[in-house]
């Protein structure tokens, strides 16, 4: 298929940036979206132009590195997939595809389509962990009985890969789906209860410091999440936060 690509080009955070049009020809419908961009970049390099910078790593939908706002949707028009798993069969010959970086004040553009998502890392560092004795006397996690439903819900929340699609899709650029998934995956398990109060307070505080917007329950985040993280987690985080605020000295 032959396509017209309108790609956001921005040479660093201080550059204003603009959409630039490119033509690509003979794209196979079996290619992934990133492979299509690889073809474009080969074309650009061969003609002596600067290739388009975009994030990617595993290309298996599990690392959370790829991003891209494609034709108005985070990770493109398909559901439950990251950009690396989005296939060109989702598009038609002759289509014009607009590709932009994930946009949020907390995700400054590094170059072209690459944004700095380290704000999510800092939120994780603020409380997305459990403290475990590693002296050699560590208790076997399987020795602690956990209801199957809780284990399943915790695992579902833990499948969040921190790609930032929730932020990109939210009209308010809110990170609450990400934060709530990280809070939930521990809140549901006995190992996570020990630090539950500080975790939710610190992670929400860090989220606000990073400049994300407020959640207004539109539900856009869960629709665009490649891992199907539910906004049930946001309700749980709100409960955890209220409970922690009351218990807090």
């Amino acid at each position: 298929m032959n396509l017209t690509l309108k790609i956001w080009r921005q040479n660093g955070a201080s550059d204003k940036g603009k959409l630039v049009s490119y033509k690509v020809a003979d794209i196979s419908e079996h290619m992934s979206f990133l492979e299509m961009l690889d073809v474009l970049n080969e074309q650009l390099v061969n003609s002596g132009e600067e290739p388009v910078a975009f994030d990617h790593d595993c290309r298996e939908g599990i690392c959370g590195m790829c991003s891209l706002h494609i034709n108005g949707e985070a990770h493109g028009p398909d559901r439950g997939v990251t950009t690396c798993q989005l296939h060109m069969r989702m598009f038609k010959d002759g289509d014009t595809i607009t590709i932009e970086p994930f946009r949020a004040k907390a995700f400054p553009v590094v170059k072209d389509l690459v944004v700095d998502r380290s704000a999510l890392d800092r939120i994780q560092q603020a409380g997305g962990y459990i403290s475990v004795n590693t002296s050699g006397n560590t208790q076997d996690a399987n020795a602690i009985p956990i209801p199957k439903a809780d284990a399943d819900e915790a695992m579902d929340a833990a499948t969040c890969i921190g790609c930032g699609a929730c932020v990109a899709s939210c009209k308010n650029a809110s990170a609450m789906l990400f934060v709530s998934a990280k809070v939930s995956q521990y809140a549901l398990l006995p190992q996570g209860r020990v630090e539950a109060k500080d975790r939710v307070l610190n992670m929400v505080s860090q989220m606000d410091k990073e400049g994300f917007g407020n959640c207004t329950n539109t539900g856009a985040c869960e629709v665009e999440c490649p891992k199907g993280i539910s906004i049930t987690n946001i309700a749980r985080m709100n409960r955890e936060y209220l409970s922690a605020s009351i218990k807090n000295d």
């Binding site: 309108k6 956001w8 940036g17 959409l19 706002h69 034709n71 108005g72 949707e73 607009t98 932009e100 946009r103 949020a104 004040k105 907390a106 899709s169 009209k171 308010n172 650029a173 809110s174 609450m176 929400v204 505080s205 989220m207 606000d208 400049g211 994300f212 917007g213 407020n214 959640c215 207004t216 329950n217 539109t218 539900g219 856009a220 629709v223 665009e224 906004i231 049930t232 946001i234 309700a235 749980r236 985080m237 709100n238 409960r239 936060y241 209220l242 605020s245």
Partner: protein
């Protein structure tokens, strides 16, 4: 408004003030509906609400605070949310993943706010003037009858006013369609079994209450 509060606290307070306003709307529409059923009963209840010291000096200030808080916090959140995405998308398809109502609470909210101003000019300010400036707490007109039904009926004789009211109640309905169920989510109430019921109740509330207000306005307009 709400500086120093975290995003979750602001969200919860927005929901709590929303719950309070939901109760108020139910009460207001119920009393107004009495004007359709029995003018005398409407007059009696209106007089009670307009002169009872608990309603006037405890509930009314709390209501005023609730309204101002909900509006102020809503506008403050909208400003903050706009700042969270300084560069907008060139191409965006928000309708693919969220309802129009959920994405445009500020528009429907501001339209309801504008309606409030008209509504205050029509009813609340004249009421305050009669009671607290002129000092007439009798609730009676010159003929010695209660004036409440007469005033309500008179205001709805103007077609333009009725049209604006009807349009405003449609905006209120759109606001409630998202607001009702969103408030439950904000306070952390989400349940596989009960959340679908809350959503259905919210849709019923969002249709029935504004429809009742519209019916009342049209009833008085058509029964000149």
């Amino acid at each position: 408004m709400g500086k120093g509060m975290t995003s979750v606290t602001r969200k919860v307070l927005m929901a709590l003030s929303g719950f309070f306003l939901l109760v108020f709307l139910l009460q207001h529409s119920t009393i107004n509906f009495l004007s359709v059923i029995s003018p005398d009963l409407f007059d009696s209840v209106s007089h009670f609400m307009g002169t009872n010291p608990v309603v006037q000096f405890v509930l009314q200030p709390v209501l005023a605070f609730g309204v101002v808080f909900h509006i102020g916090m809503g506008i403050s959140l909208e400003i903050q949310n706009n700042k969270a995405r300084p560069v907008k998308y060139a191409v965006n398809k928000p309708g693919e993943n969220a309802s129009w109502m959920s994405r445009n609470m500020i528009i429907t909210g501001v339209m309801v706010l504008l309606f409030f101003l008209l509504h205050f000019i029509d009813f609340w300010f004249p009421e305050l003037n009669t009671k607290f400036i002129k000092g007439d707490m009798t609730g009676l007109n010159e003929a010695g009858h209660f004036r409440y039904y007469e005033e309500l009926h008179h205001q709805f004789q103007n077609g333009l006013r009725v049209g604006v009211y009807v349009l405003s109640f449609i905006f209120l309905s759109l606001h409630l369609m998202h607001g009702f169920q969103s408030a439950f989510q904000s306070v952390g109430f989400r349940h596989n079994k009960y959340t679908p019921i809350v959503k259905k109740l919210g849709n019923i509330y969002a249709v029935v209450i504004p429809a009742a207000f519209i019916f009342i306005a049209l009833y008085h307009f058509l029964n000149a």
